[in-house]
Each structure stands twice: as structure tokens, then as C-alpha cells.
């Protein structure tokens, strides 16, 4: 079975979300920081009049979080009726992957990362790590 994934990069890594889970991809929007927010919440953005929470998964990938005003592209997903925005470096192409190429995340990855990425698709010469949308926006 083939599934379509929207791909994006974060800190050099290639990640993907199932097309059906993604509402849209966007360029940078200014973020309003939320004091006292759980780690991973990068602020609130005004998405055409809707207030959407921006999530920075970097700390969970073991990378330093984005600075408050650092520009970033966004992948907007809808989870449990709420729109959430994942901060990514760059949005790439839509790839059709084959379930046969799927492998669960290797145990060498940290628990955080393994929870975040359900597994990896072996593409030609590189790996596409598939995000679990629920975990990703759960901050």
C-alpha cells in the first residue's frame, strides 16, 4: 500500500507527515511567546484570524529550540479538532512511499525521538522519518 507524505526538514533531518493529516504549509508568521507554557510550545501565531499554537519539536529531537523570533516555516496539522502548527526548516516535496519500505524506529534512537517518529521509510539513499502527529503536537 502506498501512502503520500508531506516531507520537511528539521535541523538537517528529513521528516514527514501523512498528507491527510496536514491542513496546509505556510511561510513564517510572527509568534507570540506564551510564558509558563510547556516545553516545546513555541508561541501563538495568527493564522488568518485563528489563533494557532506553534510547536517546536527540536528539543525532543535533541536539537536546540528555535529562538523566539527566529523565522521558520510551518506545517499546520489538525489533531483532535484543533489546528496546531509544527515549526520546520523547510517544506519539501510530497512523496509517495510504500508500506513495504517501512521499518519501526531503531532502538538506538532516544525514547523521545522514538515516540515522535513512528518509524522510518527507506527511500533511495536517505530515510524519511514519519512523525506521529498526536505525539508531535502533544508538545
Amino acid at each position: 500500500m502506498a501512502t503520500q507524505y508531506i516531507t520537511f526538514t528539521i535541523a538537517g533531518g528529513l521528516y514527514g507527515l501523512e498528507v491527510m493529516q496536514v491542513e496546509e504549509t505556510l511561510g513564517h508568521l510572527p509568534r507570540t511567546p506564551v510564558p509558563l507554557a510547556p516545553q516545546g510550545v513555541a508561541g501563538l501565531v495568527n493564522l488568518r484570524g485563528q489563533v494557532v499554537t506553534a510547536i517546536d519539536v527540536r528539543p525532543r529531537l535533541g536539537v536546540a529550540p528555535l529562538a523566539p523570533h527566529q523565522e521558520s516555516m510551518m506545517v499546520v496539522v489538525n489533531h483532535a479538532g484543533e489546528s496546531m502548527s509544527l515549526l520546520v526548516d523547510e517544506v519539501g516535496e510530497v512523496l509517495t512511499v510504500d508500506e513495504a519500505d517501512f521499518e519501526p524506529a531503531p532502538p538506538t534512537l532516544s525514547d523521545d525521538v522514538r515516540a515522535l517518529v513512528g518509524g522510518a521509510y527507506k527511500l533511495d539513499g536517505r530515510l524519511l522519518l514519519a512523525f506521529d502527529v498526536a505525539v508531535a503536537v502533544g508538545a
Partner: protein, 776 residues
């Protein structure tokens, strides 16, 4: 298939709406028997249900409606008078129809609802109850509609027409006609209009209150929400264009102003589409009151005023349960039994009045009864029994305050638990529900004379007036509901006007002490205070406090946007909103702020505790942990015993005396030093105010500026290391983090060489001097 589903859905929505109307019509009919307008309306509703269900092959529904219709025909045609039994059976019919509709809505089938008993009940009324007999002209038991001039039936003046004439009335009458044909005749009043389904489109004379259906259409709420969102977007674009046009003149500017006007009007218009009259809610209440008064053995007269008062539909939903609860409570506990009322010199029927009106940008909904009222003595006794208040507390309270105790959790005045109310789920739930939507509830009662519950509800959930302020770089909105006043103090005078009591900052506001909370401290952000310090005086249900903010921006109507689930847990934000330039701003939740900051002892309170309970020198020592350094934040531990006070200091207030930095502090000139400089760390310079640790020994003080106050920890089980540097005694692992231990003596002597050689050190301080020397 979709087409049919759509029709059924429409039918369900419309029927449910009509049934609500039916409930109140039927009950109104009891007090106004023979009102043809009401009868006509009821008949048409059932007739429509019957007709449509026949068309949609909903057989059970059709059967119920059919028998009901037969009964209604007799009523309408004056062959039968309304009496409680008839009302009961008709209400039963409405319930059955509602159950059937519910079943259809859920499963698409009408199976599973028992209709036989309802049909039987209706039929038995039809069969057995004495009809007005045509032959019994001498003693008509039931007078007919008083508004018409006709004489009693059977006297020969009633117009008897053959059933074929009825067939002249619009289609789908066949069922009714067939039934009527059993009796052979259709009796029609002289002036009666042909009250059929056709009358819906026809009659000013018959259906004044159905008129809205001619001029209104049904719209899906999600469509309205979407429209609302798009209007929001339009407003933002308008703002951008207005900014662009600001530098131009001529056509663009004019067009932009026009766009601005139209967008505002459009926004208003869309907002209005969400407003609905409170009538919608009230139409259900006559039924509730009727059923309940029957169960409780009360006689209740229900009055409703101001039903056309409009509310946002989401608020209407939210008010429904609290309002129903108040009404139930009024019937069950407020209004006395008829005998008791007569004994008290009242009419046997109690009056329950619902009223709604606009006042001060809010909708006020009142539920008042002329019942027994709230007895302050009983309430006081109950609150002592429940341990909610002490006798001493009650002694100082007014009757009104005591009556308000019913809003406390766990309070219920009913001495017996009934199945209506008094299960402990009471007024506290009403209050929390109303507060959730930004409203308030109060009670006004006179023992023996009645009670009025007053709900104040914002006009709309979506928009509220708010004050926008800044703290640090960000904008925050404070709902006006909580705002009492603003106090501005010149920054240079803050030390005089803001005092410390028990380590807490307070301000003397017209003689009374106002506890202060610094917004930046709560949020853990930097603050940028200008020339004036602004205190927003906030009032929550039982607390008044001052919130210190950096700057006040504006009074604005803000549109409230919900926060995502992961942010709701923070608590102190009630939502978010968009500013004119599209920036997101957080809305502060004053009640949560008050609960959190005024009860949970803050940093200062911890420091104050030290004064009350001098250090315990046995095994562990407490450390104040501060952060120093802009880029690499270093954790520095200072023995808490040496610290006198924590302050925030305006960097602009630092003066130079003889090459040393000093600051005027409480009438003294106090040497000041940045801890970071002593330790060779850089420090955050972008701020105008910084946390400062003040050390006092005897009459000498030293102020040490740090970048952040982190926490107070004790060193029980801490791992120490001698890895050291100038100004440090080593390091210590506190709470899992490496923390550098400040050489307090070295640091203090560096700032004030005479600090430890003060001639008259307080005796009590000597012990901690020793402790400091020993490095604790």
C-alpha cells in the same frame, strides 16, 4: 439517498422546534381555554408532523400524530374543552413524538419507542370523556370560545357541514377526515377560519407568532462560524491596507476608508447573526414548571418578561442548565405548598417570574419568586454545621453576605433530599457555570417574602471589553469585568509608595492596603518599566489586588479566541486575542491570578518566613539560588541566612559616589554591585529593572544585582565539590543542578569593606556571621 436524508434532517430540526412551541402552547391553553389562536397553532404543528411523517413513511410517528390530531380537532372545533387530563395526554403525545424524533435522529429508524400506550391514552380520552353532545343542548358542560358570539353547540346554531366540505381544505387531510367521518359531521364555528396546514401561509388572524418563519431561513451554525472567521480575515486585510494607504493621499485613501467602514459593518452584521432571543430558552420552561409543580404539590403561576432579549447562541446554551436549576430550585424550595401560603396570607398560587433585560453592556436574567425566601438564621446555622464558616466570621457578616453563602460548594438548604434538587449539586455549580462564561450571579432575598436570583451575562462570549497592557515585549489583555481602576506611580517614588509587609509588596490605596502582584514575576519574564509604574486594581469574587504592569495601552473590544488544550493547563490565560496589527495577545484570567499569587506564598513570603523562624543551624542550610549571566546562565547559591530582602531595582536609579555605585534605598545610601561582575560573568543589560538581593547587617546594607531569582533550596543530601574560583567557595549540586556557592564574605567585603566590621552588630546576627565565615 442524500436527498431523502436531507429532507428528514430538515423535518427533525423543524419538528423539534415546533414541539418546544407546542409545550408552551399547551400549557398556555390551560389558563386560556378555547383560545383559537393557540389551538390553531397546536393543531397545525401536529398536522404538519402527521403530514410529513406520512410522506416520509414514518408510520409510528404518523399514528401518534394522527390520534392526537383527532383530539385536537375536537378541541379546535369546540366539541371538547381543555382540562388537565387532556393537557396531560397531549403533553404525553408531545413527549412520545419527541422520543420518536430522537430515535430517528440517532438511528434513522423509528423502531424502539413504544407508542401503543400513548395512542391508547389519547384514544381513551377521545372515546370515554364526555363530549359535548349535540342532543344535550340544554346543559352544555363546556362553554365555547368566549371571543365569538356563537351559542352552545347543539342548540342548532352550530353550522353542521358534511364531511365533503372538509375535503375542500388542502391535501393530506384524508386521515383526519376519515376519522371525522365516523362521527359523520364536522362542526365548525361560525367565525372559525379554516385552520389547516394552509393557515400557516395564510393567517395574520390566526398565527401572529409564527410570522418569523416567513422572513427567516435556517442556517447551519458552522457556516456562520466560518463566515465570522472570514470576516476576521477581512478586518486584518483592511488594517493592512489602511496602513499602506496611510502614506498616500487621494483615491487609495478614500477607498481604504470606505473599505474600513464596510468591513466594520459586515463584522457587526455577522456578529448579530449569532444573537438569539432568550425566548428560545424560555419556551421550555412552562413545561418544566408545570411538571415540577405537579410533582411537588405546588401551585405556580409563571410570568416571563423580556423574552426578546438577545444573547449569543453559545451563551444561550451555557445559561440553559443554570437557569433550569434556578427555576427548579424556586419551585421546589422557594415557593411554599398552597396550604402554607394561605396560612402566610399569600395567594395559594406562587408567582415565579423570569425576566431578562439589557443593562450596562450585559444581559441580566432574573428568576424571582414570592416564596419563603432565604432565612439567614438557617443559612448561618447550616454553614456552621457544614464547617464552611465559624461563628465569629458569621457575626461580622450582613444578611446579604450570609445569603450568598448558598453559593459555596457543599451547601444545600433542603432539609430532605428530594429527587428535584438538594443533592448537594447546587448553587455552587450554578455559580461556576455562570462564571465560566464571564458572568456573575447574585441573590437578593427577604425571609418570608421571596427570592430573586440575578444572573449577569456578557452579551457575547466572542467579544469583550478589555484593557490592553504590556509586560516585557508582549501585550496582554485584562477583561474590564475585573478592572476597578488604574493607579500610576512615578517610578522614582515607588519605594515610598510601595511598601513591604511580611515580605509582600503592598500599596496604600485610599487608606486600605492593596496586595500587589508583579505581572512580569508571575509570567517569569522581564519587565520594562518606564517613568511610571502602573497598578491595575483588579477585583475577583472575593479578592482585590493590584497587578503591576509595564505600560497601559488601550481600552479595546477584543475578540476572544480559545487556547489549545495544551495551553489551557497554564490557567492564568483565559484565551488569546488578535490586536489591530494582527499580533496575538494573551488574555489574563484575573481569578486564577488571584488564587495563585495571593494564596501560594511567593518568593518574598519565603524570605519573610526566615525572619519569623530564625535559621535552623542543625543539619541543613537554606540557599537562595539566583541566576547570573546573559548567555550562559550560572546558578549561584547564597546562604539564605545572610539575605535580608529581595527587591527589584531600577538600573536608572543607580548613582555614582566616589567611584562607587550606590542606590538610595529606604532613606539610606546603599552600595550596589552586580554579582555578575564580581564573578566575571556578563549580565543582561537590555532591561531597566533587575532583581536585587539586599544584605543588611546592623546599620549597613549592600545591594547585589542579579539577573534572576530562581528558587530557595536546602542542601540536604547535596553533593559538594571544591572546584572553585575567585568569589566562590566551591560548588554544590542542588536539586540535580550544579550550583556555585557564593563566598558571601568576600563578595560583601568587596562592595563594602566595612560590612563585617560594623561596631554594633546585632547579637542575633553573630551566629550567621560565623556560619558565613565557615562557608556553612
Amino acid at each position: 439517498m442524500d436527498g431523502v436524508d436531507e429532507i428528514i434532517r430538515e423535518f427533525l430540526i423543524e419538528s423539534n422546534e415546533n414541539l418546544d412551541q407546542l409545550d408552551s402552547d399547551l400549557i398556555a391553553l390551560e389558563s386560556e381555554p378555547g383560545s383559537r389562536e393557540l389551538l390553531g397553532s397546536i393543531f397545525r404543528t401536529i398536522h404538519t408532523v402527521k403530514g410529513t411523517s406520512g410522506f416520509l413513511s414514518l408510520d409510528n410517528l404518523e399514528r401518534v400524530a394522527h390520534v392526537g390530531e383527532n383530539l385536537l380537532v375536537e378541541l379546535r372545533d369546540g366539541k371538547r374543552q381543555m382540562d388537565p387530563a387532556t393537557t396531560d395526554v397531549l403533553l404525553l403525545m408531545v413527549d412520545t413524538i419527541r422520543a420518536l424524533l430522537g430515535q430517528i435522529d440517532e438511528t434513522g429508524e423509528e423502531q424502539g419507542v413504544d407508542i401503543s400506550s400513548t395512542v391508547a391514552a389519547l384514544q381513551s380520552v377521545l372515546d370515554n370523556e364526555p363530549l359535548v353532545q349535540g342532543s344535550d343542548g340544554s346543559s352544555p358542560t363546556t362553554p365555547l370560545t368566549p371571543s365569538t358570539e356563537h351559542e352552545p353547540l347543539g342548540s342548532g346554531h352550530a353550522e353542521v357541514i358534511p364531511e365533503q366540505d372538509a375535503a375542500g381544505q388542502p391535501i393530506s387531510e384524508s386521515g383526519a377526515c376519515a376519522e371525522e367521518s365516523q362521527s359523520g359531521i364536522v362542526v365548525r364555528e361560525n367565525l372559525a377560519t379554516p385552520a389547516t396546514a394552509a393557515a400557516r401561509a395564510e393567517g395574520p388572524s390566526t398565527s401572529a407568532h409564527r410570522h418569523s418563519s416567513d422572513t427567516s431561513i435556517r442556517v447551519d451554525v458552522s457556516l456562520l462560524d466560518e463566515l465570522m472567521r472570514q470576516v476576521g480575515e477581512l478586518v486584518l486585510v483592511r488594517n493592512q491596507i489602511a496602513q499602506l494607504a496611510g502614506f498616500e493621499s487621494g483615491d487609495l485613501l478614500r477607498s481604504s476608508q470606505r473599505l474600513s467602514l464596510i468591513a466594520s459593518e459586515l463584522q457587526d452584521g455577522v456578529m448579530k447573526t449569532r444573537m438569539q432571543p432568550i425566548e428560545q430558552l424560555w419556551s421550555k420552561m412552562p413545561r418544566v414548571v408545570r411538571d415540577l409543580s405537579a410533582t411537588c404539590g405546588r401551585e405556580v403561576r409563571l410570568e416571563m418578561l423580556g423574552g426578546d432579549t438577545e444573547l449569543d447562541r453559545s451563551l444561550l446554551e451555557a445559561v440553559k442548565d443554570p437557569l433550569t436549576h434556578l427555576i427548579r430550585n424556586a419551585v421546589d424550595h422557594g415557593i411554599e405548598a398552597p396550604d402554607d401560603r394561605l396560612r402566610a396570607g399569600k395567594t395559594s398560587a406562587g408567582l415565579l417570574r423570569l425576566s431578562a433585560y439589557h443593562a450596562g453592556g450585559q444581559v441580566v436574567v432574573e428568576v424571582s419568586d414570592d416564596g419563603i425566601g432565604l432565612d439567614p438564621v438557617k443559612i448561618a446555622a447550616k454553614s456552621i454545621e457544614r464547617g464552611l464558616k465559624t461563628r465569629e466570621q458569621l457575626a461580622t457578616m450582613t444578611d446579604t453576605e450570609i445569603q450568598s453563602l448558598v453559593f459555596l460548594a457543599g451547601f444545600s438548604t433542603a432539609s430532605t433530599v428530594s429527587n428535584i434538587s438538594g443533592r448537594g449539586v447546587g448553587m455552587d455549580v450554578v455559580r461556576s457555570n455562570i462564571e465560566e462564561i464571564g458572568g456573575t450571579v447574585e441573590v437578593d432575598s427577604r425571609s418570608g417574602q421571596g427570592t430573586t436570583w440575578r444572573l449577569r451575562i456578557p452579551l457575547t462570549l466572542a467579544i469583550m471589553p478589555a484593557l490592553t497592557v504590556t509586560s516585557g515585549h508582549e501585550i496582554y489583555a485584562i477583561p474590564q469585568v475585573n478592572l476597578l481602576e488604574l493607579v500610576a506611580i512615578d517610578s522614582s517614588r515607588t519605594d515610598d509608595s510601595i511598601e513591604l509587609i511580611g515580605g509582600r509588596e503592598v500599596y496604600r490605596l485610599r487608606g486600605s492596603l492593596l496586595p500587589l502582584v508583579r505581572l512580569a514575576d508571575v509570567l517569569g519574564t522581564e519587565s520594562h518599566v518606564g517613568d511610571t509604574v502602573v497598578i491595575a486594581v483588579l477585583q475577583t469574587e472575593n479578592q482585590r489586588f493590584g497587578l503591576i504592569v509595564d505600560k497601559v495601552l488601550n481600552n479595546e473590544e477584543i475578540v476572544v479566541k480559545p487556547l489549545s488544550t495544551i495551553l489551557k493547563g497554564i490557567g492564568i490565560f483565559a484565551g488569546a486575542t488578535l490586536m489591530g496589527d494582527g499580533q496575538v495577545a494573551l488574555i489574563l484570567d484575573a481569578p486564577t491570578l488571584a488564587r495563585r499569587e495571593l494564596s501560594a506564598d511567593s518568593m518574598e513570603a519565603l524570605a519573610a518566613k526566615r525572619v519569623e523562624a530564625p535559621e535552623d543551624t542543625t543539619s541543613s542550610a537554606e540557599f537562595l539560588v539566583v541566576g547570573v549571566g546573559a548567555h550562559q546562565r550560572r546558578r549561584i547559591a547564597i546562604p539564605l541566612s545572610a539575605v535580608t530582602r529581595l527587591e527589584h531595582i531600577q538600573l536608572a536609579r543607580i548613582e555614582m559616589v566616589g567611584g562607587r555605585e550606590v542606590v538610595q534605598y529606604r532613606g539610606d545610601v546603599v552600595p550596589v554591585q552586580r554579582l555578575g561582575r564580581i564573578l566575571g560573568a556578563d549580565s543582561v543589560e537590555s532591561v531597566t529593572e533587575k532583581p536585587t538581593v539586599v544584605f543588611t547587617r546592623g546599620d549597613r546594607s549592600v545591594a547585589m544585582i542579579v539577573d534572576e531569582i530562581l528558587e530557595i533550596l536546602d542542601d540536604r543530601g547535596a553533593i559538594r565539590s571544591d572546584v572553585t574560583d575567585s568569589g566562590l567557595l566551591g560548588s554544590i549540586v542542588l536539586n540535580g543542578e550544579v550550583t556555585e556557592l557564593l563566598d558571601t564574605v568576600y563578595a560583601l567585603e568587596l562592595v563594602d569593606p566595612l560590612y563585617f566590621s560594623s561596631h554594633d552588630p546585632d547579637a542575633e546576627l553573630s551566629s550567621f556571621d560565623n556560619a558565613l565565615m565557615a562557608g556553612i
